[in-house]
């Protein structure tokens, strides 16, 4: 079986497994847990398209996420729209923002770009803080229905939605990674000036990357209101979302499409487990220590570590 077929078959298998889980298990907590981890997966994959592939660090991931969440919330306050519509809308809005950021910051390199993304996130946070329609700084409530589609509970439905989004994100990421686009982004990452001299259309590629990142982060944020039921700017624009979006790909490995997934599954699960076991300020310590340890000892992430061990064995 060729690798291509194997890949698409595994994605289909993942979706099927997800459906099977929702059918066989009733315990809402596990779906709750899985949703949170999968949200991290989508954010990590999205971040990595620009951060890992192209080398442009986005500090303001929480901004995209929150705008996605609030787009969905605002639309759902206007009319009872199906989740798919909300997700697409959120993706569109955030994609446009991604495009705009790409255009505005075309002269910025390296850390300047990162600071600009942070500034954009803060500006959006302030705008939403003052937007009464979605509750402003006081936050807003979403009361989700008890069930949706054929699922036994709403959480199972949200889990499946996020699983589908994760599959989509994985597909997009892998396609980008392995295409000419991906090679172009890698050239930008290694040496942008040289890439330009070699004829790589750097601006175009960067814009595609920022837009794709925006769209996927918007997707990740869209169902958030329905998951958390209470959303306010502080929690939606949370620093932890931004940090995780960077940490998960770094821990997993930024050069390949698989890295962010591994990093998100590990770090996301660790955090959720810690919340209901150790459950204290030590949660933060896990994040901090994991970041320091991985970044110091496994610079190319888990994928890189496994890769070098594999190579050594040969």
């Amino acid at each position: 079986m060729s690798r291509e077929v194997a890949f698409w078959a595994s994605l289909a298998a993942v979706l099927a497994a997800g459906l099977w889980f929702t059918g066989s298990y009733d315990n809402e907590y596990y779906f709750n847990f899985a949703y949170a981890v999968l949200q991290g997966v989508v954010m990590a994959i999205a971040w990595n398209i620009l951060g890992g592939f192209a080398g442009y660090v986005n500090f303001g991931s929480a901004g995209f996420f929150a705008v996605g969440a609030y787009t969905a919330i605002a639309l759902s306050k206007l009319a009872a729209l199906p989740m798919v519509v909300l997700i697409v809308a959120a993706g569109l809005v955030c994609g446009l923002i991604g495009l705009a950021i790409g255009l505005l910051t075309l002269r910025l390199r390296g850390v300047y770009f990162a600071i600009a993304t942070l500034a954009v996130a803060i500006v959006f946070e302030t705008l939403i803080d003052n937007w009464e329609f979605v509750g402003g700084a006081g936050g807003t409530y979403i009361i989700p229905p008890a069930t949706a589609w054929f699922f036994d509970s709403y959480v199972e439905y949200l889990f499946f939605v996020m699983l589908a989004l994760a599959v989509v994100a994985t597909a997009v990421s892998r396609i980008m990674n392995r295409s000419r686009l991906g090679r172009g982004l890698a050239a930008i990452r290694e040496d942008e000036v040289a890439a330009e001299c070699a004829g790589v259309p750097t601006l175009q590629l960067k814009l595609i990357a920022t837009t794709a990142m925006g769209v996927l982060m918007g997707f990740a944020g869209a169902p958030y209101g329905f998951y958390a039921t209470y959303v306010d700017p502080v929690s939606a624009f949370s620093l932890l979302i931004a940090v995780n979006a960077i940490a998960m790909p770094m821990i997993g490995g930024t050069e390949m499409w698989l890295g962010p997934i591994i990093g998100a599954l590990l770090l996301g699960s660790a955090q959720k487990i810690a919340t209901v076991t150790i459950s204290s300020e030590l949660n933060l310590l896990i994040v901090g220590a994991a970041l320091v340890a991985f970044i110091t000892f496994a610079p190319r992430g888990i994928v890189g570590l496994v890769g070098s061990l594999w190579n050594r064995r040969r």
Binding site: Y29, G138, A228, T229, K272, E281
Partner: protein, 415 residues
């Protein structure tokens, strides 16, 4: 560190007991589950609440338990993050299989639990959320904060506006932090002021990350208000009070909805700057509020709180954290079993004697009769924690039935 060992031990014990007991033994513990803000912005009140709740658990267990069964807690830190709450309650109910649930502290952390609580039809005693139940309309929700039915947001500032009107105030400035509670408090004050015919000369909000409040106080001063109502969180309360004192804010009535002015460390630090301020509170050591059991409880709390880096006196949240479990426990005893519907009905239909007095619930699960105190700081000296242990420094002005002293008016005199 101790709390981690304790919670791990409690969890291990609970799991062991749950696993080991096939049939229902009479000694099977009653497990109460909740999330609590142990880290993050609200931890300064969340941790003291947990200590108070643990005192209740230990008191009950010493006296033979609830229905003869020992009480155990299963709790997790929600990190003051609303997104953690649904997952935590899902785990508590579906995985840990707790018998009863109570809430975390604060509106932002109570509301996200409501959908799952409502789906599982459980009784939900909750701790200090402002007007959470309006959008849910859940009949098994009960709120121990005495803001009161039917409109807690408005009741919050009613006493303050009443004092204003009674003393001839005509103009008022409203200012508050850009966050859930303070917006609600200011909204209520706005409604009350408009209903009372006061002219609102300043009406702004500020971001919680503001460092210097001098410009805000000055802008307020420029409108020459007779009264200033502030809805603030602890760091901004300190900022506002200090700026007002430094600039010599010239107004007749100042205070209203400042969270943090009830915290012992802040009271000690602000000292005499607090004099004259009329602010909300729920319990102070004044003779009119000397309910049975409260002093004893506070003594236990203060002993446990030492060295924990939490509020040393525990006058604000802890008595209510103890009381809301008293209500739950009494209802469980009265009903004779863990029946969510009967327990809810019992709480709805009865009054309870607690360390915060007689508690009765009305519409939407709020207190039938509001009891938001307006307290004036008087004769406060600098840097003295112990002065707050006894009466005389925080004099209850409103409501009239709980009054313990006279208002010194205007604010400029009382300073």
């Amino acid at each position: 560190m101790i709390s981690i060992v304790r919670s791990a031990a409690a969890l291990a014990a609970a799991l062991y007991l749950a696993a080991a007991s096939g049939a229902a033994f009479a000694q099977e513990p009653i497990r109460i589950g909740f999330s609590m803000a142990l880290t993050g912005g609200l931890a300064g009140a969340g941790k003291p609440a947990l200590i108070a709740m643990q005192i209740w658990r230990d008191d009950v267990n010493e006296a033979g338990g609830l229905l003869g069964r020992p009480v155990e807690f299963v709790y997790y830190d929600d990190q003051t993050n609303p997104a953690e709450v649904p997952g935590i309650y899902s785990k508590l109910i579906d995985v840990d299989g707790v018998d009863l649930v109570v809430s975390s502290y604060g509106t932002n952390l109570i509301a996200p639990a409501m959908p799952i609580i409502m789906r599982k039809q459980m009784v939900f005693m909750s701790l200090f959320g402002l007007d959470v139940n309006t959008q849910f309309g859940y009949d098994r929700y009960f709120q121990i904060m005495p803001a009161g039915a039917p409109d807690p947001k408005v009741n919050w500032s009613r006493g303050f506006i009443d004092i204003a009107v009674e003393n001839g105030v005509r103009t008022i400035a409203l200012v508050g932090a850009d966050a859930e509670f303070s917006r609600n408090a200011v909204a209520g004050a706005r409604a009350n002021a408009e209903a009372a015919g006061l002219e609102i000369v300043y009406d702004e909000s500020y971001k919680g990350t503001t460092t210097d409040f001098t410009p805000i106080i000055r802008a307020i001063q420029a409108t020459s208000p007779d009264a200033v109502f502030v809805g603030s969180y602890p760091p901004d309360t300190v900022g506002m009070v200090r700026a007002a004192s430094e600039l010599g804010l010239d107004t007749e009535l100042f205070g209203g909805g400042m969270v943090g002015a009830q915290y012992a460390t802040i009271q000690q630090s602000l000292g005499s700057m607090l004099n004259g301020i009329v602010n909300y509170d729920f319990w102070v050591p004044e003779p009119t509020l000397d309910f049975p059991g409260v002093e004893e409880f506070l003594a236990k709390y203060q002993e446990r709180a030492e060295g924990q880096g939490v509020d040393p006196l525990g006058h604000y949240l802890p008595p209510y954290a103890y009381a809301y479990l008293q209500v739950l426990g009494a209802a469980v005893e009265a009903v004779g079993g863990i029946d969510q519907e009967k327990i809810a009905a019992h709480i709805r239909d009865n009054t309870f004697e607690t360390v915060v007095g007689t508690v009765a619930f009305g519409e939407k699960g709020e207190w039938a009769t509001p009891r938001v105190l307006q307290v004036q700081f008087q004769n406060v000296a600098d840097n003295d924690l112990d002065q707050f242990r006894t009466a005389g420094k925080r004099v209850v002005i409103k409501p009239d039935e709980w009054r313990s002293g006279d208002l010194i008016f205007p604010y400029t005199e009382a300073r």
